[in-house]
C-alpha cells in the first residue's frame, strides 16, 4: 500500500468527476425525491402529500409481488452462475494459444447490446421458428414461453446464465491465474487430492474475486430491465415483471409520477442496503 500524503488541493483533480457525476446523480435524485412526496394533476400543479406514496407502495400487493419475483430471480441466477462460472474457470487451460480464444469467445455475450440479447433469445426460443423452442418441443416437452409462466422463467434464467456467467468465469479465471505454480507443486508433493487443492488453495484465493462477482451479479440482476422486457415483455401476465419493468410501467406507462418516484427510492435503497450487507458480511468473513 502506498502511504498517501495529505493534500487538500487534490480536490481540484477530482472536481471534474464530481461535477459530472453530481449533475447526473443529484439533480435527477432531487427530482425523484420531489415527486415522491407530491401529487400532480398535470399542468405543473403539485400538492404536498408527505409519505403517502411510500405507504401506498410499501403496502401494495403489486410491489410485494414484483419484489418477490425479483428476489427469486436474483437468487436463482446467483445459485447457478457463481458455481458454474467457477467450475468453468477451473477447467480452462492455464496457458497456451487456447486461453486467448476461450477468453475472447466467452467475453462475446458481455458486449452485445441488452435488447439485442433479448431479441436474439426471443427468436432463438420461439416454439415455431426458434432453434431452442424446436429442440425442446422435439424432445417431447410442451414448451412455449409466451404462454407458460414456467417456460418463461426457464427461458429468462437461461438467457441470464448465457449472458452473464462469462463475467464470473473471467473474474474467477483471473483469480486462479494469480496463484503461483509452487502452490500446486507443493500440493502434489504433499499428496493432496483434487478436492483438497480446491478447498485449501484455489477457494481461499478466489474469495476476493468471488466477493466482487457476487456483488456485481446481485446489483446488475436486481436492476435488470431490457433483456426480459424484450424477451417476454414481463409476461405472460405479470409472471416475469421484475422491479425495473414494473417501475417503468408505472412511470412511463401510467405516468403515475408520485408512486413511481416513491418506488424508485425504495428500490434504490434496497439495492444499497443489500449490497452493503453482502459486502460487510463477506469482508468480515475474510478477516476471520
Amino acid at each position: 500500500m502506498i502511504d498517501k500524503t495529505v493534500n487538500q488541493r487534490a480536490w481540484f483533480l477530482v472536481l471534474p468527476v464530481v461535477v459530472l457525476v453530481a449533475f447526473n446523480a443529484l439533480i435527477p435524485l432531487m427530482t425523484v425525491v420531489n415527486y415522491s412526496v407530491q401529487e400532480t394533476f398535470g399542468n405543473n400543479v403539485f400538492f404536498f402529500e408527505g409519505v403517502k406514496w411510500f405507504e401506498q407502495i410499501l403496502n401494495s400487493e403489486r410491489f410485494h409481488a414484483s419484489l418477490l419475483r425479483q428476489l427469486s430471480f436474483t437468487g436463482i441466477i446467483l445459485l447457478i452462475e457463481i458455481p458454474l462460472g467457477v467450475a468453468i474457470a477451473l477447467s480452462m487451460p492455464k496457458k497456451g494459444p487456447w486461453v486467448s480464444v476461450c477468453l475472447v469467445l466467452m467475453a462475446l455475450p458481455l458486449l452485445i447490446p441488452w435488447n439485442v440479447v433479448g431479441a436474439m433469445w426471443n427468436i432463438f426460443a420461439l416454439p415455431d421458428i426458434g432453434l431452442l423452442g424446436r429442440m425442446i418441443n422435439g424432445m417431447g416437452f410442451d414448451y412455449n414461453f409466451t404462454q407458460q409462466p414456467l417456460a418463461a422463467w426457464f427461458t429468462t434464467v437461461l438467457m441470464d446464465v448465457w449472458h452473464w456467467t462469462s463475467l464470473v468465469v473471467l473474474l474467477a479465471y483471473a483469480g486462479l491465474s494469480s496463484i503461483p505454480d509452487a502452490y500446486y507443486q507443493a500440493a502434489r508433493i504433499d499428496g493432496a487430492s483434487a478436492w483438497s487443492v480446491f478447498r485449501f488453495i484455489q477457494l481461499p484465493k478466489l474469495k476476493r474475486v468471488l466477493t466482487i462477482a457476487i456483488l456485481l451479479r446481485f446489483m446488475d440482476s436486481f436492476m435488470i430491465y431490457t433483456e426480459p422486457f424484450v424477451l417476454t415483455g414481463g409476461g405472460p401476465g405479470n409472471t416475469t415483471t421484475f422491479l425495473s419493468i414494473d417501475l417503468v410501467k408505472i412511470a412511463l406507462g401510467q405516468f403515475d409520477l408520485g408512486p413511481a418516484a416513491a418506488m424508485s427510492l425504495i428500490y434504490f435503497l434496497i439495492i444499497l442496503v443489500m449490497s452493503w450487507i453482502f459486502y460487510t458480511l463477506m469482508m468480515r468473513n475474510e478477516e476471520q
Binding site: 498517501k4 480536490w11 477530482v14 471534474p16 468527476v17 439485442v116 427468436i123 463475467l167 422491479l243 439495492i271
Partner: protein
Amino acid sequence: MKMPKWLVPTLYILFLLLPIYWLVSMSFKTTNEILGTFSLWPQEFTLANYITIFTDPTWYNGYFNSLTYVGMNTLLSVSVALPAAYAFSRYRFLGDKHLFFWLLTNRMAPPAVFALPFFQLYSAVGLFDTPIAVALAHCLFNIPLAVWILEGFMSGVPKELDETAYVDGYSFGRFFIRIFIPTIAAGIGVVMFFCFMFSWVELLLAKTLTSVAAKPIAATMTRTASTAGYELGLLAAAGTLTIIPGAFVIWFVRNHIAKGFALGRV
C-alpha cells in the same frame, strides 16, 4: 470415468455460440423462409437484409449515432477519471473516502429509476435527442467504474516514480502526460474497454434520451419489430451488426482483459 478437461469450456462456448449462430443464420434468410420452413442453415441465401440496412439512412444512421455517443462517453469518462484516480491513489484529502464511496453508489443506481428524471433534465437543458445527452448520462455509471479501475492500476505504480520526476524538474502536468500516462497505458486500455462495453450495451437510458435524430441502432431495431410487423430477417441482420464492434474491441484487448479482471475491479 474421467472427463477430459477441455470438455467443459468447449461445451460452454458451444452453448454461448448457439443463439448467436441462430441470429446470424437468420439474418441471411428471407422472411418467407423464417416463417414458413424450419431450416438449420439458410436454404435461399440472401443479402437483402444487409443491403436494406446499408442503404436506408434510418438504419445506418442509428449505427453512427451509437458509435458517436459511445466514443464520446469513453473519451470523456477516461479523461476526467484519470486525474481523479490519481488524486485518490496518491493523496489524502477532506472527505476522500466518502467521496469514493458516493461515486461507487452510483454504479448501483438502477437506470430505470433515472429514466424519467433524465428525460426531464436533458429536455430542460436542451440536449434531448443529441448524442451528447446519452454520452453525459452514461457518465453516471462509467465514471465511477473508470475511477475505480484506474485507481487500482495507479496504486500499483510506485510513488518513487512521481518523486523522481518532480526532483528532475517536471511540472505536474508534464509529468502526468509524458511519464505517468504512458506507464499505466495498459490500465487505460482496460478502462476504455469497460467504458465502451457498458455504454454500448446500455439501452434504457439511450432510448429514453433520444427520439429521431440521435436514435441508437439497437433502438431502431425495437421499432422495426413493433411497427413494421415481423421483419425478422432485418432484425437479425441489425442484431448481427451490433455484435461486430464488441467482438472487434475484445480482440484488441484480449491480452489485457484477464489482467484488468485480476485487479478484481469491474
